[in-house]
C-alpha cells in the first residue's frame, strides 16, 4: 500500500464548455451555463432552469463518426466525448500496453430514449434498437468500445448523485491494490423528462438561477454533463515519464441511513465520508486548502452539508464554494465534473466563486468564497452527496 494514484488525463463536457479548456475559462470568468430548457419538450419550461449542453445528438454522432444505425443514448454520446478527451489528454496511444479498465457512473442511462419511445417501441421497429440501450451499463460498454478497452474490467456504479465520486474511489482502490495499471473513471448523465419531473415531485427545483449556501435558496437547477479522469499507477507514470496533473489522495463513502432522499439534519453521512477520506489521505483537517462542496442549493443539502463541514473542520473551515450554479446539478456525473474542477483549481492555484450568493444562512456563520481567489493550493476536498443516504468525499493533492 501507500502507492500513488496519479491523474494523467481529464476530459469534460458540460453546460459551460465542451472540453477542459472551455470549462476552465467559464469558471474563472464567472460564466454560468444555466438557461431555460431547449432540447426537451416539457410543460415545466418556465418553472425550471437547467444546465444544457448545446450540441444536438446528431452533432455528437457526427463527431464520434457513428453510423446512422447506432443506438447511442445522449448519456453515451456525452460520455464517449469526455472519455476520449481524457484519453487524448493522457497521451494514450496503445490501450493494450497496460492493464486498463473503465468505471463509469450514470443514473439516467438510456432513459432519454426510453421516455421518448416508450409506447413507440411496441409498434415502430425503427425505434426498437434503443430498447437494449436503456440499462445503465450500456453507455459504459459503448464508452469502453470507443476507447478500445477489451477483455477487461469495465463496470458501472449508480449511487444517485455521488455515483462518479464513487467511480473515482473504486478506480483509486483498484490501482492501489495492483488490480489495474490504468483506469478511466468518471460519469455521464443527460437531461431527461424523467429527472426533470422526478425532482419536480420532490419540490426541490428552483424556478430561477440556483443559489448555493444562500439563506433564500429555492432549490437546484438540473444539468447534463460527462467527465472522465485517467488514473495511472506509479509504474506507468515512471515507465512512460508521464506528466501528472494531480493525485487522488483520499476517499471515503458512508451512508446517512436517515431518509430515502433527504440528508440528516446534522450531516452524519457527510461527516463520516469526509473523516474517512482524511484518514485514507493521512491528513488532518488543517491540511485541506479548499472544499469544492456538493452545494446543490436545496434547503436540505446545504444546511446538512454545511453543518457536516463545521463538524469536521471546527473553527477553521477552509475556503469553500459550490460550482453547481455554473453547471447545474449533473447528478451521477457531478463527482467527476467537480473532480476535474478540483484538479484545475490545484493546477492554477485558483478558488472559484460561489455564484449567485446574496444572503448569509442563519443556521451557521460560514460563508462560501464569493469572488475568484488566487491562492497557493496543495489539496482540494470534494463532496458528493446523494439519495439513498449516499455520501462520498474525494481528496485531490499536488503531492503524491
Amino acid at each position: 500500500m501507500g502507492k500513488g494514484v496519479a491523474i494523467t488525463g481529464m476530459g469534460i463536457i458540460s453546460a459551460i464548455g465542451n472540453n477542459v479548456a472551455e470549462n476552465y475559462q467559464s469558471l474563472i470568468n464567472a460564466q454560468k451555463g444555466i438557461s431555460r430548457v431547449k432540447k426537451i419538450n416539457t410543460n415545466h419550461v418556465n418553472d425550471i432552469m437547467v444546465g444544457e449542453i448545446a450540441f444536438t445528438n446528431t452533432e455528437m454522432e457526427q463527431q464520434l463518426q457513428l453510423p446512422k444505425t447506432n443506438n447511442y443514448s445522449r448519456t453515451a454520446l456525452l460520455g464517449a466525448l469526455a472519455a476520449k478527451e481524457a484519453f487524448k489528454n493522457a497521451r494514450i496511444k496503445d490501450v493494450n500496453q497496460y492493464k486498463t479498465g473503465l468505471i463509469s457512473a450514470t443514473s439516467v442511462g438510456g432513459m432519454d430514449m426510453t421516455e421518448k419511445y416508450f409506447y413507440d417501441y411496441l409498434e415502430n421497429p425503427e425505434t426498437q434498437k434503443y430498447i437494449e440501450g436503456h440499462h445503465a451499463g450500456d453507455s459504459t460498454q459503448k464508452i469502453a468500445e470507443q476507447l478500445g478497452i477489451k477483455e477487461s474490467l469495465v463496470t458501472t456504479i449508480s449511487t444517485a448523485c455521488s455515483s462518479a465520486a464513487n467511480a473515482i474511489m473504486l478506480g483509486a482502490r483498484l490501482i492501489k491494490a495492483g488490480k489495474l495499471d490504468r483506469v478511466v473513471v468518471g460519469g455521464s448523465d443527460c437531461l431527461s423528462k424523467f429527472t426533470i419531473n422526478g425532482f419536480k415531485t420532490l419540490m426541490i427545483l428552483s424556478d430561477t438561477y440556483s443559489t448555493p449556501f444562500d439563506d433564500n435558496r429555492k432549490g437546484l437547477n438540473l444539468g447534463e454533463a460527462a467527465a472522465f479522469l485517467v488514473l495511472e499507477s506509479d509504474k506507468v507514470v515512471e515507465a512512460e515519464n508521464k506528466p501528472v496533473l494531480a493525485y487522488v489522495k483520499g476517499y471515503g463513502n458512508a451512508n446517512d441511513a436517515f431518509h430515502q432522499t433527504a440528508s440528516s439534519d446534522h450531516g452524519d453521512g457527510a461527516t463520516l465520508a469526509m473523516e474517512q477520506a482524511l484518514k485514507v489521505a493521512g491528513y488532518a483537517p488543517s491540511d485541506i486548502d479548499y472544499i469544492n462542496a456538493h452545494g446543490t442549493a436545496t434547503g436540505n443539502n446545504d444546511l446538512s452539508e454545511g453543518r457536516a463541514i463545521i463538524r469536521v473542520f471546527g473553527n477553521h473551515v477552509p475556503d469553500f464554494s459550490s460550482t453547481k450554479a455554473y453547471t447545474g446539478h449533473t447528478l451521477a456525473a457531478a463527482g467527476a465534473i467537480e473532480a476535474v474542477y478540483s484538479v484545475l483549481a490545484l493546477q492554477n492555484n485558483i478558488i472559484y466563486p460561489n455564484l449567485n450568493f446574496k444572503t448569509q444562512m442563519k443556521e451557521f456563520n460560514i460563508t462560501p468564497q464569493l469572488t475568484l481567489k488566487e491562492k497557493e493550493l496543495k489539496t482540494v476536498l470534494s463532496n458528493s452527496l446523494g439519495f439513498g443516504g449516499n455520501c462520498s468525499t474525494v481528496i485531490f493533492s499536488k503531492e503524491q
Binding site: T201, M203, T261
Partner: protein
C-alpha cells in the same frame, strides 16, 4: 364537511398504501405525522399532489403542507376554503 372528511380518510389510505387501516381507524383530530399515523415527508409530497389533483389547490412550498396536513380536521378546513374543484 363530514363527507369531505370521510373522503379524505379513504383517499389517504388509498394514496399512501395504508393497507391495514380503515377510515374508522383515523380520528378527525389524530396527528397524521410523527407520533400519530406516522406519515413522513414523502407522504406530505404525495398529499400535495392529491390536493392539486382532487381539489385544484396548488402548493408551491412543501413547508406550507405542515400546518394543513396536521390532521383530517385541518385538511378538511383548508380544502373547503381553498378548493377550486
Amino acid at each position: 364537511m363530514d363527507a369531505l372528511k370521510q373522503e379524505l380518510k379513504e383517499n389517504l389510505i388509498e394514496q399512501l398504501n395504508l393497507e391495514d387501516m380503515s377510515p374508522e381507524d383515523i380520528a378527525n383530530d389524530d396527528m397524521l405525522f410523527g407520533d400519530g399515523l406516522g406519515l413522513d415527508s414523502i407522504d406530505a409530497l404525495e398529499l400535495i399532489v392529491m390536493l392539486d389533483k382532487n381539489y385544484g389547490i396548488k402548493l408551491t412550498d412543501p413547508k406550507e403542507g405542515r400546518a394543513i396536513f396536521e390532521s383530517i380536521n385541518t385538511m378538511a378546513a383548508y380544502i373547503s376554503e381553498h378548493r377550486t374543484k
